[in-house]
Amino acid sequence: MEAFFKRLSALSATTILLILTSIFVVLFLYAKPAIEAYGLKFLVDPRWDVVITPQKATSAPKKTENLGGVNVDNEDDIPTVNIPKQNQKINVQEDDLGDIPTPASTTKVNTQDDDLAGVNVQEEDLGISAPTQNTQPQKQKVIYGGLVPIVGTILSTALAMIFAVPIAMGIAIFLSEIAPPFISKPVGIAIELLAAIPSIIYGMWGLFYFGPFISHIFGGGSVSLLVAGLVLGIMIIPFMASLTRDSMKTTPDVLKESAYAMGATKFEVIKDVIFPYAKKGIIGSMILALGRALGETMAVAFVIGGVFTFPHKLTDPTVSIPVVLANNFAESSGMSLSALFYLALILFVISFIVISFAKFYFLRDKK
């Protein structure tokens, strides 16, 4: 029985590792075409889904007869890579082709490949698929670069932390040390309720009420980096506050009472007894909150603006990685899908680095 119990718990622990690895592997496999096409330049390239035309001769109008010569551009179906890479892409994606007959794909690698990569009829359908258009794709190149969302993610998270940490600490101190029980109980429950609100509700509230309110005070539009940071901050305050309060409450009364007996003031007790004692828990709560802020999607998607430009002011709209994923995933395929997976991989790595850095740096001397 004892051995079985040990096995079982070891198994649960292994599951986590397995899941983590499989997520990483899947992200990597799907991102592979984009990684190969853009490499590390993806990290520093601010252009997303921009078509560049190395040779000027993109006379799209003559191509599509019945569409009236509109230059229907299709994000990823324009191959940006050479043929061997495309073949690899086929390999990667073939699983999800399922039962779709793909005879055409092998013959017309240049034009037809992408659509099939994502099964995606959708992307390539209008512009390139007509058999007469073999020449066009080679002249255009679609560039995906992740710098804007990466910067947006870091800025909005940093803004949220700057806003949330002092307030959360204040709430926790008030609840655990200062407020009388008849106040701290209901307020504590209210905070836990706030933590349980789904993020989309924060998003809706931000979009319809908070965003306009902020733009009224600070100027700028009703959706911006500032609004996103503040909404994110508001979202993570309850987490941080309730975890911090709990860890402060674990301070043994003996310690506090001895400090008071020595003539310490409340401020001194909090600063010198409670904080050092609860430090680990407090930092842990911040790390959890940071993780949530980094990956928060729905609320931010509503209020950050979703514009692929660097914010020059706090009140400019920009975009973050989870928002790009949420906004574009349903409609992407081929190279744009793979660029999204690349972004997801980057987010994964960023969160991993930030959190492990925080853990090792802040908690290194404690055990």
Binding site: V70, V121, S129, F208, S215, S222, V223, G305, T309
Partner: protein, 334 residues
């Protein structure tokens, strides 16, 4: 005893009832929902449709995960052949240019003005290009805030398709896409919203803004909608009647599997779009169920569509679609 017989009869009926599943474009979702409801009440057959986006609709039907897919973007005959799909249009909708300028109510936008606004060359509301057709309106010297979609969407595709047909310059620079790096973004005069309601909310809450929204959503949100210059030079308001006028010139061709984006017709409101259904070629029995449902929609669903701000297909096109079904052997079983 009677009850018992009735029960058996009911069981017999319901065992013949079938269910089909579809997914795809969100744009026609309200109409399909209405049709599904009345279809179920009348026939007992269930149709499930989830609005997941055109891209998903195409992918899912291409993978044969669903019985039909919805797409705002028509697929070319070559693509359809590759995916082994049939395609037909269902309803038509309009895209409105909605604006929020305090004190201005009847904005008229010429083609030049629209072009200038989207290309970022017209920066202020009191630009002579805009004032020219709005002599009475008190247009302020305020920056134009352009509101667009932040997510990839069929609405953006259809709007930019219209822009491409109207303006060669736009066509050259951007073309028709589902996601655009709008020139106004770089000038810092843009706001983006997620989904039609995100755009509507942004227009509502930001004065001096203008953006493109599905007509049905613009009506729902009580937004002011600009009159737009049609291809024939007349100014037309976004109304179902004017959409229908434009739809007359849609020029669908069953031989091309109705592959046609109908924006910018010769007359009538120019920013209109049809939405399409895709069905797998080999699943004839299922396709018959799908067409039975849409046949029901064509026959009985016009009122519901109009009420929701959409335009039913003209009768001539409906007949064309029915003939297309018959030719392909997927006409609903009578």
């Amino acid at each position: 005893m009677k009850k018992f017989i009735a029960g058996i009869a009911l069981a017999a009926v319901s065992s013949f009832a079938w269910t089909i599943n579809g997914t795809g474009a969100t744009f026609p979702y309200p109409v399909y929902k209405q049709w599904i409801k009345s279809f179920y009440e009348k026939t007992g057959n269930k149709v499930n449709y989830t609005g997941t986006g055109s891209g998903t609709g195409i992918k899912e039907v291409a993978l044969r995960h669903v019985d039909f897919g919805g797409s705002d973007k028509p697929l070319s005959p070559a693509t359809l052949k590759k995916g082994q799909l049939y395609q037909f249009p269902t309803v038509i909708g309009g895209i409105a240019l909605s604006y929020n300028i305090p004190g201005v109510n009847n904005l008229k936008l010429s083609e030049e003005a629209i072009k200038g606004i989207v290309l970022g060359t017209i920066k202020y509301w009191d630009n002579p290009m805009i004032v020219k057709y709005n002599p009475q309106a008190k247009l302020p010297h305020k920056k134009i805030i352009f509101v667009h979609r932040s997510d990839k969407s069929g609405t953006t595709f259809n709007f930019t398709y219209y822009l491409s047909k109207m303006s060669p310059e736009w066509n050259q620079k951007f073309g028709a896409r589902k996601l655009i790096n709008w020139p106004t973004d770089a000038q810092g005069r843009s706001i983006a919203g997620k989904g039609n309601f995100g755009v509507s909310a942004a227009i509502k809450t930001n004065p001096y803004s203008i953006g493109y929204v599905d007509y049905a959503d613009a009506v729902k949100n009580g937004l002011k909608m600009a009159e737009v210059q049609a291809a024939d030079g007349k100014f037309v308001a976004p109304t179902p009647k004017n959409f229908a006028e434009g739809a007359k010139y849609a020029g669908f061709d069953p031989k091309l599997d109705f592959y046609k984006v109908i924006a910018y017709p010769k007359h009538g409101y120019p920013i209109i779009a049809a939405t399409f259904i895709l069905v797998p070629k080999e699943k004839i029995q299922n396709d018959k169920k799908v067409t039975a449902f849409f046949d029901y929609g064509y026959t009985n669903g016009d009122k519901a569509a109009l009420k929701l701000g959409y335009v039913p297909l003209p009768e001539s096109i409906k007949d064309m679609v029915r003939k297309y079904w018959a030719d392909k052997g997927i006409a609903p079983a009578k």
